[in-house]
Assembly symmetry: C2
């Protein structure tokens, strides 16, 4: 058992679209991860629809059990937006119009060359006694107020607006909620290792419920390790120890994606890349070009799905494909080398494999992928055997290729 | 106000990983959408951690207010998995071991050539009196039992397993829960129209709270329209009326993605496609090749990010790029035609634009994209002006290109 945390939170999402499943409640995920950095453990999530009674019920219950409550959504201009009314009812106070919030809204509408609808005025209403929380990205200001002694934060449901307001909310919570305090956070991101292997490798460094506390989170082949603690020097020392233990598995010590690190590294030193993708169909190119500034790095990509394209564009001899098959070590090598030659890029990546679910044979099963990397020093080809899931094979192939490039750089 | 629905549901997610935000609660979204098809309105979501007290509390409250309760997660083999224990405690019954569930688990481990750990035995425990719900995709069987008179379904948290069990759960709920009944569902998916335009266009056909009821849901540029009702003929008649009103905006009357419809249509008639992508960097290729069987359609794709690549691979004269700029109608046209010529494909798509956030000028702002489509009948180029968001520009460019192709087919 982990010890009882000193501060707990409940998150309440308000909105029919969340309840009905048309919007996934990603705000809850964002806030929970953020609250961990001020030492607050989220212990309850709730979602209710656009019904005043249900919002009041959820609020009352949350205030009775959590140290702090965060409510998202229901602050819009329509009659369905009832969060402010529910808060006022629970507190038994009237709603007052805020001249500052009204003025802010007028300016936003002006900047869009539109006049403000009368219905928007309700967005300037706040329960009497609330502290207003300006929103730079939309018309819905947030507010906070203690309900039955528990600090409650009411925030807009639009993720972009919520995210921008989160740091201010955290500072406020750290200052006001007993047991909460700004923590120091150190983060490392790794590629090429699974969560269970990581647990074994870090063993005693992975402390739960301690200070600093270390957690690992896997997402799309990237494993993030986060140390959170009250003392900066201790957090940094622990992160250093983890980084040393993991060596070159760590690709960054911040929040960046693997693609972003690669693009920055390569553009910083003027190096260029070309791609020859078969089973990934353009996924690696798509990932690289998500990064603004990738045009300085990516010279050209080829989606060479057909054998003819492999020959035409990457100069792979038809006879080589005939002899070894399109999914083979020699063809992967020829693809990478041919693409590098064609484009004059410093590095060329090739991916050829059987993504599935069909197309596998006894000797070449679904999930068999060859990944090639060519540069002036030579060509490396890695044989991978992934599983039967088409989409996962493609994702893992792309991630592995980028990791091979990272190690070469 | 919509009338009070006859059957309401509460969804409870169990698991520290959901609470802490490392797993987004997409199961709730899946179940809520599914429950609408049996006339059950989800009115509350809750999530609690791996604490028996909290699970019992959440269950008790849900049973006191909902017509039916669905609980996901906490059925695994570890000591943290406490859902079965919480259910038994609330019901005040013991947990009994099920020989059938145990045998099922043994067979799964056998098929993986592994022996079953003793700890897995707890997955064969069920509250006395529960009806077991087999799980073909994992070791955790589900179960259902009435708690304080309310039917409760306990399901695994792994999405793949949960999704496979959902149809059985819906049939059971339709048969057991008062006010619930299997409904008829007709779905249309559209591309190329926004939600607010759709609302105007369908106007009186968009009935809320009626029977049949019509809802619209937007996701990634695709707008889905769903009619749900008790009588099949009425649902079909309404869907036909909507389809007629929308004409060629409708690309399918089932669940398929736009890419899938395109690949099936083209492979069915032996037609082929080539791509020349600049600002989308391989995104269109990636989307097309998500579809199994796309190798019969996609001949070749080129990610021609650099001007040199546009000339080298698509034969765009350097002089043309010099004169008009890479983001221009003539270059888009030359890219599509050059790619078609190079590959001999029946159709070629080109995309060249300024994705942002930098690179815009007075005359060519961020968001300006030219999309070309060439076939034997000629070449069409569409000028689009999207917004300032890089990722959204890329997505909208890709979607628009696929929609142009669909209309041409």
């Amino acid at each position: 058992m982990t010890p009882e945390p000193s501060a707990t939170a409940e998150l309440i999402a308000v909105g029919d679209e969340v309840l009905a499943g048309h919007t996934v409640n990603s705000n809850a995920s964002h806030l929970a991860i953020a609250l961990a950095t001020v030492g607050v453990e989220v212990r309850w999530h709730a979602a209710v629809g656009d019904r005043e009674d249900d919002i009041v019920d959820a609020l009352r219950r949350a205030c009775s059990r959590a140290s702090v409550v965060l409510v998202c959504g229901g602050l819009g201009p329509t009659p369905d937006d009832l969060t402010r009314h529910a808060a006022a009812r629970l507190l038994d106070v009237p709603l007052d119009e805020s001249p500052e919030a009204l003025e802010h809204m007028r300016r936003i509408f002006e900047s869009m060359c539109r006049s403000m609808a009368e219905s928007n005025r309700r967005q300037a209403l706040f329960p009497r006694g609330a502290t207003l929380m300006p929103n730079d990205n939309g018309t819905a200001w947030g507010f906070n107020i203690a309900c039955e002694g528990t600090p409650c934060y009411f925030l807009p449901g639009v993720p972009k607006e919520l995210y921008a307001m989160t740091p201010g909310v955290l500072r406020d919570i750290a200052a006001r909620v007993e047991g909460a305090a700004l923590r120091h956070v150190a983060q490392l991101r790794t590629v090429g290792i699974g969560e269970s292997d990581m647990v074994v490798r870090l063993s005693e460094l992975l402390t739960r419920g301690g200070d600093p506390e270390v957690g690992t989170y896997a997402s799309e082949g990237i494993l993030t390790i986060r140390a959170i603690g009250q003392r900066k020097d201790e957090v940094e020392r622990l992160a250093d120890a983890i980084a040393e233990r993991l060596g070159d598995l760590v690709y960054t010590r911040d929040d960046r994606s693997l693609e972003e690190v690669l693009v920055r590294t390569m553009s910083g030193s003027g190096r260029t890349l070309a791609l020859a993708e078969s089973c990934t169909g353009g996924l690696v190119g798509e990932m690289i070009t998500r990064v603004s500034g990738s045009s300085a790095v990516l010279v050209e990509g080829a989606v060479v799905y057909s054998n003819e394209a492999k020959t035409r564009t990457c100069g792979v001899p038809a006879e080589l494909i005939e002899r070894h098959g399109a999914v083979s070590e020699p063809v992967s090598r020829a693809l990478a080398e041919g693409m590098r030659e064609r484009t004059g890029a410093d590095y060329a990546i090739s991916i050829t494999g059987i993504a599935g679910p069909t197309g596998g044979t006894e000797t070449k099963p679904v999930g068999l992928v060859y990944i090639g990397l060519a540069d002036k020093g030579g060509t490396e080809v890695r044989e991978c055997r992934f599983g039967a899931n088409r989409e996962r094979n493609r994702q893992r192939s792309a991630r592995t290729a980028l990791d091979m490039l990272r190690r070469r750089l």
